[in-house]
Assembly symmetry: C2
């Protein structure tokens, strides 16, 4: 590539799939990539740009002329085109839209730009094949031939009435198997699952998973067919949500990868580390309050890690179980009261077992009886309270529209640490 | 249901989707569910059983006669049938297989039972439509009509040579759009992505995501077409992997849900809590070694939580970044040496910032200068070492075939805690 050996590059990329070429381009400098991409046919070029990671792509698009971007956008489905347009500065976006000469495409794109990226409306593509209820199968096949030019992946044909209201679907398989003299009304399946434009991407993913759908039609509140969402977009949503959850659980504040720059990685990690350090400071002050007790019985300090680690582990386990049920909701949930009671019983069981173990362990290793009793009592209380905090926090976060996975991250761990210490030292203060 | 009101149940379930009925049955007792299911047509019954959660289903199938299970199996695709058979005791499984009278189905099922559940061979279904390269389009459509009976979801037709070797695919769209006098050889697309039987489910998921596939053919090492994997199974794989990771990261040892029994939930949580408690005990002994220093300067105890929490947070962040890159591998990875160097630089940066903050904070709050220096020095070392442990552990786990998410769980946290304490007290011992 450095030598700009055009023929060699074209020859070696011939026959490679766009996704593989994108992966390759992630390793190049922007200028080299641009050079390589310009050598390729414009359809392949569009697929490659579409496959690039978002952050690389937006850096990449800066070296493109608006007319070049228009050409790319022309080759893509409306949903992918809109994703790219959303990454452009507003002025450039307008220029690109003005350059699109296909009226229908322009209207589709303008329509899709209205939706947030994380709702069904923002995931859907306008390209789909619809058939009127009253058409014959022959007419339908003709229409498919005509419409199929624009639709990259064809799963099924949606059936609508004269007002474009979604009535059902008919699979390609049924169309192929149908007799020529049949009508759509004879063979269509009225029980179609659809989603509405305002549904969140999580909900769309849940619906498609539950019913094993490869594509789902999107309707507005009046039931009018507006677009469709395909499973490949939902797979990306599911993967992104899992990545986001992992980040939150481990206290990383930005969407970073191992390959990102040292500066980005440091910036993503520092904020939560600083929160943790501040928590540590408050812990230090808290312990300082009980300096008198500590001076009297140094052994109190020995059990600080035990109390803290257990509180942290119990809290994270509890949040994680709530996260699990938020991610895979069942049709019927127990009432809040019942759930908390269950959490309480489980915590009491776990707490009792751990407290007994610690008590026994302390006596066996020749610890003082009264200190052993204090440690076990405090441990039991910490398990109870950490369970409740761990359960309630993700539910509250979820209710107010935050990602509940935050609750498994360092913020809650820090809170639990402080709470555990406070309980421990207060018990010491009371009983010793 | 309690009153066994047959007509009412049938009427109210009429028109409901199988997935919704399954969700409903999760709430019933096994006997009631069996009663409801027996009222439904056998095809719907098969879909419902297929949709049930694995643990509920295996409990449920115990009340079925082998002949009833055979009937269910007959209605399902071979991959789903095999999943159900795998849940049965071996004797019953043989009985069910013996009852299947469709020779082809029996052969398919016996073939699939050979594969592990977590490789491509275990995910694939035998039902697919294949066309010989030399067929005409008309012949192909006839064959589709004939074969389509068995295939629930039809995405594309796979093209093979006379020895069943996979050559390419042709989409239904192309078949519909083709002229009648064309041959498969004229319209098929030779660039088909396939997976081999022994590939892991993670790899299959990665391939399908990368190339946005809705179905992928499975071939053996000689390239012979054996089956296909559809995207809905892969969506389940991706979701399961995310659930498993969440469990490992939060130290839950079994696949549990909030709805499971108190006993199961306690059992899933206790093992790692006990590991944590044992770690806490070792910490206590470790601190005990430095009792003399502690008695001399009580303030040493104040910073135990700070050191531990930071070590834990840094370790989890580091493992999480490695997990991220293992889950979404890029085509080109840096060498191990380069990766570790980068981790080291980032850790040094983070460590320096945190150590400075803590030093400043300690002086501002009127702490002793030499203790502040010791705490900051120890903190810096802890950040460095926790980063390295957090980075290396998931890589080692991955290399030896364990789930790398284990590294973000309590086992590593406990190790990091101990390591942090040891560094802290050793620094105290050396410098104070």
């Amino acid at each position: 590539v450095d030598e700009r050996d055009e023929a060699f590059i074209i020859a070696s990329l011939e026959g490679e799939k766009p996704a593989d070429i994108s992966a390759l381009l992630h390793e190049f400098e922007t200028e080299d990539s641009k050079y390589v991409i310009d050598l390729l046919p414009s359809e392949v070029r569009a697929d490659i740009i579409n496959d690039l990671d978002e952050d690389i792509r937006s850096r990449f698009l800066r070296v493109f002329e608006p007319t070049e971007i228009t050409e790319i956008v022309n080759h893509l489905d409306s949903d992918d085109a809109v994703d790219i347009l959303n990454e452009l500065p507003i002025k450039e976006r307008e220029e690109v839209i003005a350059c699109i000469d296909n009226q229908e495409k322009e209207a589709n794109i303008l329509d899709l730009l209205r939706y947030d990226e994380d709702v069904a409306g923002g995931l859907m593509a306008k390209e789909l094949i619809k058939a009127n209820l009253n058409w014959s199968v022959v007419r339908c096949i003709e229409e498919i031939r005509r419409q199929a030019e624009n639709v990259q992946k064809l799963y099924s044909v949606y059936v609508v009435d004269d007002n474009d209201k979604l009535l059902g679907r008919v699979s390609l398989k049924k169309i192929i198997l149908a007799e020529d003299n049949m009508h759509i009304a004879d063979i269509y399946d009225p029980g179609v699952t659809s989603v509405e434009t305002y549904m969140s991407e999580e909900e769309v993913a849940q619906v498609m998973r539950k019913y094993d759908l490869e594509a789902v039609p999107v309707v507005n509140m009046q039931g009018k067919l507006l677009g469709r969402i395909t499973i490949d977009d939902v797979v990306d949503v599911i993967t992104e949500l899992a990545d986001e959850e992992r980040q939150m659980m481990s206290g990383i504040s930005e969407d970073v990868e191992e390959a990102d720059s040292i500066w980005m990685l440091t910036r993503a990690r520092l904020p939560w580390l600083i929160v943790g350090v501040m928590g540590g400071f408050i812990s230090a002050r808290l312990i300082g309050v009980f300096e008198e007790e500590l001076t009297r019985i140094t052994a109190i300090a020995f059990f600080i890690p035990l109390i803290q680690a257990t509180g942290g582990n119990v809290g994270i386990q509890s949040s994680s179980i709530v996260l699990q049920s938020l991610a895979n909701p069942s049709a019927f949930n127990d009432s809040m009261q019942k759930r908390l009671f269950k959490v309480f019983v489980i915590a009491a069981l776990n707490g009792a077992v751990l407290a007994t173990l610690v008590y026994g362990g302390n006596l066996l290793t020749g610890g003082a009886v009264n200190l052993a009793l204090v440690v076990s009592t405090a441990l039991f209380c910490v398990v109870l309270i950490a369970s409740l905090i761990g359960t309630i926090t993700p539910l509250i976060l979820h209710k107010f529209g935050f990602n509940p996975a935050l609750a498994s991250g360092p913020f809650i761990t820090t809170t639990n640490d402080l709470m555990g210490l406070a309980i421990y030292f207060y018990t010491v203060h009371l009983l010793l």
